[in-house]
Point group: C2
Chain length 280, copies 2
């Protein structure tokens, strides 16, 4: 249990209060989806993402670059990722969406890559290989480890919801085991907005942790339901929207369209934060 940075949740909450937003914007750069007037190559992606980041950063508290889409450019994708991350303002958390997880010395190498080389503030990790595969990430006192618990996709039914002999469910066991190895100032969980009825149980297990919640927009999750069941005294929710913001328009007005969608989310979030008395 590392605890050299007490109050990390509070500092994140301060940003949420200041921006009246708990929005995370996912950066999934797919050349096929780039709007009109942007070249469908790595330079186009670079131009597009830097413009999007500048336009929407007033309305969000985090960006989540999805490593897969950068890696799909091959060796040049690393420099693109680094440059895009450098363009993210300091008042936004950088969540490396990498879903890593491997034995100790390999996990330590992934941590060096994502935290030290690319400068991410947080990483998503996949728990199949056990808590041991996550502790090298958790060991960073000034970083966040975000463990997959109950993901937003239909495939979350396959294994995460398997019922155990003792009555538990796999995703609950994953949360409990991770919580023994870290604390709410260093550990978050991924819980999909597509499972609104599970947020009550999530909060019984982990009342204090931040949750990274994908599944809005294309996947139809409800912000109201997530706020009702998921808010805690530090907000405790980072709601991710990727395609719904990035590809709000495929025309030359794309920046206005993306900004408009981000602002709409921010206003809805401000209303919810007020409704639950998290901001005045």
């Amino acid at each position: 249990m590392s605890s050299v940075s007490p109050g990390r949740r509070e500092r994140l909450f301060d940003q949420i209060v200041r921006k009246q937003s708990f929005l995370c914007v996912g950066l999934d750069p797919d050349p096929e989806k780039l709007p009109e007037g942007i070249s469908r190559d790595i330079e186009g992606v670079h131009e597009f993402l830097r413009a999007i980041i500048e336009a929407v950063s007033p309305y969000c508290v985090a960006f989540k670059p999805n490593f897969a889409f950068f890696e799909s450019f091959g060796p040049e994708g690393g420099a693109l990722l680094k440059s895009v991350i450098e363009a993210i303002p300091d008042d936004c958390l950088v969540i490396g969406d990498a879903k890593r997880g491997d034995i100790g010395n390999t996990a330590a190498a992934y941590a060096r890559a994502v935290f030290d080389q690319y400068g991410c503030d947080a990483i998503t990790v996949s728990p199949y290989m056990g808590v041991e595969s996550l502790t090298p990430f958790m060991a960073y006192p000034d970083k966040w480890t975000i463990a997959l618990a109950l993901t937003s996709n239909p495939g979350s039914q396959d294994f995460q919801r398997l019922v155990l002999r003792d009555g538990g469910v796999l995703w609950e066991e994953v949360m409990k085991a991770c919580m023994k190895a870290s604390d709410p100032d260093h550990l978050m969980f991924v819980v999909g907005a597509t499972h609104p009825h599970d947020f009550k149980r999530v909060r019984e297990i982990a009342p204090d942790h931040f949750l990274l919640v994908p599944g809005f927009g294309a996947q139809k999750g409800s912000l109201d339901e997530v706020a009702q069941q998921g808010f805690n005294r530090c907000c405790g929710i980072l709601a991710n929207v990727s395609r719904g913001i990035l590809y709000a328009s495929d025309m030359t007005d794309y920046l206005e369209a993306s900004t408009q969608v981000a602002r709409t989310y921010q206003r809805q979030m401000a209303d919810l934060l007020m409704a639950y008395e998290l901001i005045p």
Copy 2:
């Protein structure tokens, strides 16, 4: 179920028979462990790995670059990885040890990265997000998808061995679910040599599949036990050794030392293949 390449197992078995080896050499390039006389930087790693590949390739049928160690160099790691993979002879399978796994469109981007950009013949994948997160890899007719089942590390106890209400065990459910989505000419499983008593059960579930077996060398798995319980009519085992071969010596004689260790494994494997009448 893709089945446009029948006989892929047999073609891999042909290589095993020809080389009298089922050895996979893991490429985990850690600058701190480089031998004397090699510079502890990305150029040193490049020189070291290309020399190792040339020296040990007569004794193995596969190489397994561990993506974490390449990524830990940051943006330059991609070019290193590509160059190292290009140095692997055509008669060796290239297994991208990346442990990827994410929702469909993201998994498809990882597949483009590992298969199309880096030219790997196979990828290791982590199943926590469900079968849906693996099918984009399985859809490549000329590639292998290698799903984590029962990994070699102590953390494999945490979740993989959880007993389910219906009497099954998580790692067995993972294997069964993956087998419904692919076939033994496209799907392998990771099963650690540190679990010799489970190979019988593995072969009950998946008699025909190849298994990628880590956990020899540093982790003390026994080749004899794995062969006894795990061999099938196409051998069905790729036994991985990483550090035991790469870092056989930290002196200037490192190439001789690595070659010697690889050759010793190969001879032990030839004896086992003969003992079980897989080669004349």
